[in-house]
């Protein structure tokens, strides 16, 4: 079993499904035409894009004309925020509300805007990573243009009360954007029922290709362009369309969204088994909400050890996972999400994220549970800060 890679980092990216690759291939080969051209191969490409747009729209209960293809989740987040911020600014609105646990594609955009004269409120979350909709309501001012709150968190898997936040925004006539990059394929997303005005998604999180995503913009919303140039995407997003990518995205999205309940059933069973077993390890804690949680997400801290060491040892056993430790974040601070839910730095350094996907098997889950406790034990035996007397606050 150690010769095979056991991929448990599906929140980072996913393997592209064979049927997705198959659907993309014609657009690299015979149907390579530019969708803006008038001749046959161009028209075929154009048709494929419009067909993909229909598929995506159906998956989230939107209209095809509300779907815009982008280069991925980060572009969609950038466009949603900057595009509305600039057009609302003209109406005298310069305040944006978000949370402290957003993806950097949202946080860094807002930090930049706040340096350019916009006002940004970064809402706290509770110790499970949940936003209180009342906090959103209380933060809204006459000059608020946008509320941007992620659907589900990429690190701790917490699923936010999106419908309720959307309802408040509708009532207060404030635009509502959600980064749903981690949610697609895991929860039933319905932009109409859930009062969503703008939504970002990315293909590679649900077995589609990298470098392609979508921004849903409810009709009637005026957006400033992020990328100017040609007349693609109704003149709102220039650049020759990534036809194979768009086709791959829609194929993957159709598969992902037609199997949400089965995926939920299987992955949450695996997830809960892992959480149950790893919780038996002394001085461990679950990060995030035990119930309002993405089906494939496990995020736990183990006191006295550091995340990167854990990942390297798991890698030596063929298991791919991730951590919110400083050493894996590229800075010396551990994950902003773990700090926002109130973890101390030294505890946050010992976090492990396992994100399960469609290909994971019961056998792989059992193998993880077999090897991980001894890795933790080995690292603790080497650790000068591991002190058995100290008991961590337990979560939940």
């Amino acid at each position: 079993m150690t010769n095979k890679i056991i991929y448990m980092d599906n929140a980072a990216t996913t393997a592209v499904f064979d049927e997705v690759i198959e659907s993309m291939l014609p657009f690299f080969k015979d149907q390579y035409g530019n969708p803006s051209s008038v001749y046959g191969v161009g028209k075929e490409a154009k048709k494929a894009i419009e067909n993909s747009r229909e598929i995506v729209a159906n998956c989230i209960n939107a209209c095809a004309k509300e779907i815009y293809f982008t280069s991925g989740g980060s572009e969609s987040d950038n466009w949603a925020i900057k595009g509305t911020a600039y057009s609302e600014f003209k109406k005298g609105k310069n305040h944006i509300i978000t949370s402290k646990i957003e993806h950097h594609a949202v946080l860094h955009v807002l930090e930049r805007l706040s340096r350019c004269g916009f006002e940004v409120t970064f809402l706290d979350v509770n110790d499970k990573g949940l936003i209180d909709p009342k906090d959103v309501e209380n933060a809204i001012r006459p000059e608020t243009s946008l509320v941007t709150i992620m659907y589900a968190n990429n690190e701790i898997g917490t699923i936010q009360p999106i419908k309720e936040i959307g309802r408040i925004c509708r009532e207060k006539k404030v635009l509502f954007h959600t980064d749903a990059v981690q949610a697609i394929g895991n929860v039933h997303v319905d932009v109409q029922d859930q009062n969503i005005d703008l939504l970002s998604l990315s293909a590679h999180k649900f077995h589609g290709p990298k470098g392609v995503g979508v921004l849903y913009v409810k009709k009637g919303i005026t957006m400033q362009n992020l990328i100017d140039g040609g007349a693609q995407e109704k003149g709102l997003r220039a650049g020759t369309e990534n036809v194979p990518g768009i086709v791959g995205l829609s194929t993957a999205m159709q598969i992902a969204c037609s199997s949400i309940d089965e995926r939920n059933e299987k992955l949450s069973r695996f997830r809960d088994k892992i959480i149950f077993n790893l919780s038996k390890i002394e001085s461990s804690r679950l990060n995030g909400d035990p119930e309002k949680r993405l089906p494939g997400n496990v995020n736990m801290c183990f006191e006295g050890i550091e995340g990167e060491s854990m990942l390297l040892m798991l890698d030596a056993k063929g298991i791919c996972a991730s951590s919110g430790s400083a050493c894996t974040s590229g800075s010396l601070d551990p994950s902003h999400v773990l700090l926002a839910i109130g973890l101390e730095h030294e505890i946050a350094h010992g976090s492990l994220r396992i994100t399960l996907g469609d290909q994971n098997t019961q056998e792989e889950v059992d193998y993880l549970l077999e090897v991980l406790p001894s890795i933790i034990e080995k690292l603790r035996s080497m650790s000068p800060v591991w002190n058995k007397e100290r008991v961590m606050p337990q979560n939940g």
Binding site: L312, L332, D333, P384
Partner: protein, 145 residues
């Protein structure tokens, strides 16, 4: 990750892990807040470091630099041990990624902290011999709050 084979080898099979009872010197550097702590124990006889052990909380590089540092000073004279720089630690590991260089500084400081403790225990002011022990990540390339 971008670690050399030597780093991975020391990380996977760290040398001299553990504690020394009645150690002649114990040095601890780093800070759990920053995600790495090294504690080094030494046994000294006639100016020679006869035994050395370590315990480290930290990333792969922190464990590997601790391990190689113990190898570099075991059996050496105090004078030789004091000459070991973080560069020597990096070289002995066939290089470290830039963001991990601070781990080699930590290893150098751990050796010095253990020797400083050795002198203190003997009633000798360590600073003229060992120099000042740098605090957590004084020379760290990345700022953190």
């Amino acid at each position: 990750m971008f670690y050399s084979e030597k780093v991975m080898e020391h990380f996977s099979n760290p040398r001299n892990v553990g504690e020394i009872k009645n150690a002649d010197g114990i040095g601890e550097v780093g800070n759990p807040k920053c995600g790495d702590i090294m504690r080094m124990y030494i046994k000294v006889s006639n100016g020679i470091i006869e035994d050395v052990k370590f315990k480290t909380f930290g990333c792969g590089a922190a464990i590997a630099t601790s391990s190689i540092a113990t190898e570099l000073i075991k059996g050496k004279s105090i004078d030789d041990a004091l000459k070991i720089t973080n560069k020597a630690v990096v070289e002995a590991l066939d290089g470290l990624p830039p963001v991990k260089v601070h781990c080699s500084i930590l290893a150098e400081q751990a050796i010095k902290a253990a020797l400083a403790d050795y002198y203190r225990k003997k009633g000798v002011d360590p600073e003229p011999i060992v120099g000042k022990i740098k605090n957590c990540h004084d020379e760290c390339p990345i700022q953190h709050g």
